[in-house]
């Protein structure tokens, strides 16, 4: 357990040192979402209607941005070998990486989503449902992204391959996340959608680190 925390602390420290890379995902999220009112016009009824979709798609794309370097930097400078030799199973290393990714990317996205949704004129009842969906949603994106990043590690053009691998896997997250916010703004319960998201998280939590760990092992070979 202390080894796991040491890996996590190391990741967080590195993210803080590479502050520009860390902020890039957040700024990308805010800027792309801010483009929509400019492109489709500021009419509140149109914007408010599609606001959950905008927030979710932008969050999904922004979460993909740092994945390329998640293992890439460690792979190139030999640190991955040292991580694999730290005495943890590779799945635990992948889980620590996923947690670090969520803390420095997912959590800021979740926090920034609230003012963004207000800016996009989202209806009042939809906002809590959107945030409640983004909480497991961003965790899921971190887990799926970590698995994808580990699997394409060492492949040529891995950076191009990565979104092609992760985006299809992330579609259920998008569907239930947007559905939760839409249901709330239509006066329905968002509960079933949130529970489905939680179920997805419960499945991804053990499976994604295992897949990522296998990917790391084969990349090291």
């Amino acid at each position: 357990m202390s080894t796991f925390l040491a890996v996590l602390a190391r990741e967080l420290r590195l993210s803080l040192r590479h502050g520009a890379d860390t902020l890039a995902a957040l700024l990308f999220f805010l800027l792309t979402a801010a483009l929509f009112p400019l492109a489709i016009g500021p009419a509140p009824e149109t914007l408010g209607r599609i606001a959950p979709g905008i927030v979710w798609v932008c969050a999904l794309l922004a979460a993909l941005l740092p994945l390329d370097r998640l293992f890439g930097a460690d792979f190139e400078d030999g640190s991955l070998d040292q991580l694999l030799l730290c005495g943890l199973p590779p799945g635990a290393i992948a889980l620590a990486k996923a947690m670090a990714h969520w803390l420095v990317t997912g959590l800021p996205l979740l926090i920034a989503a609230a003012p963004l949704a207000v800016m996009l004129r989202m209806s009042d009842p939809a906002l809590p449902a959107l945030l409640a969906g983004l909480l497991p949603g961003t965790m899921l994106l971190s887990l799926l992204g970590t698995a994808g990043a580990a699997i394409v590690l060492g492949a040529r053009r891995g950076g191009v391959l990565l979104p092609l691998l992760v985006l299809p896997l992330a579609t259920p997250v998008l569907i239930f996340g947007v559905a939760a916010a839409d249901a709330a703004s239509g006066g329905l319960s968002s509960h079933p959608h949130l529970l489905l998201l939680a179920a997805l998280l419960a499945a991804a939590l053990p499976l994604c680190p295992l897949a990522a760990g296998a990917g790391l092992r084969s990349a090291a070979e």
Binding site: S2, T3, D77, D81, L85
Partner: protein, 231 residues
């Protein structure tokens, strides 16, 4: 006691070595020699558990070493030909992760490689030799009985090579083992040699055993260590 029997490994599609036998006892050291591409680095990665052997057995005190990889990883300190030093962190911060795993002191490890004055410098400012030394400082922190060294002294000046020799001797006196691949002479006294031939791939059938080298590395004779490096 680390023992390899009939080890073989592939690098991509190419068989780099086969039928490799060797044994290293506690306190022993083994030098891997051979031309470029003969599989020295591959063998070190195999011994670290990063690469699965295509054939053969690797045993630690008689038990299969690679059956439990995380447990094997705790027995191993590996310095690859990449330094694994993060340019954005300071020299001391780079070592803190290794120190948290082993519980050693970062200051003492830096002193062992003569980098104590540069502890707070970002690692991106280091020269190639200094970066190598900070990678070697991880060895000073590690409690692992088996050191796997890939060209450990590449880029080091004479003083640093001597300091590294002191570290290696202390490690061996502590009943530790070291396996190193290098083309540069290592200042650590007697060392067994395992020569890896350059494998121009023969057809796999009918090769038979006995082509690989058989080497046994024993601990150095008990007397020669000066007792000065305890502090």
């Amino acid at each position: 006691m680390l023992q390899g029997t009939g080890l073989a490994a592939f690098r991509g599609e190419r068989l780099v070595f086969r039928d490799l036998d060797f044994a290293v006892a506690g306190g022993g050291a083994l030098l891997l020699t051979g031309p470029n591409g003969s599989g020295k680095s591959t063998l070190l990665r195999l011994l670290a558990g990063l690469l699965r052997p295509a054939a053969g057995r690797l045993t630690w005190d008689g038990a299969d070493a690679l059956a439990d990889l995380p447990a094997h990883a705790r027995r191993v300190a590996y310095v690859g030909h990449q330094d694994a030093v993060k340019p954005a962190l300071t020299v001391a911060e780079n070592l803190r992760f290794a120190a948290r795993l082993s519980g050693g002191s970062v200051g003492a490890a830096l002193a062992a490689v003569g980098l104590e004055g540069l502890a707070d410098l970002p690692a991106r400012m280091l020269s190639a030799g200094q970066r190598r030394r900070s990678a070697l400082a991880r060895l000073a922190l590690s409690q692992a009985p088996l050191w796997l060294l890939d060209e450990p002294t590449l880029g080091l000046d004479a003083t640093s090579v001597e300091r590294f020799g002191t570290m290696l001797l202390a490690h061996r006196a502590n009943n530790g083992m070291a396996i190193a691949a290098t083309h540069l002479p290592l200042p650590i006294g007697d060392i067994a040699e395992l020569a890896l031939p350059l494998n121009t791939p023969p057809p796999l059938a009918g090769g038979g055993r006995g082509k690989g080298a058989v080497v046994t590395a024993r601990p150095p004779p008990p007397d020669p260590l000066p007792q000065g490096e305890g502090e």
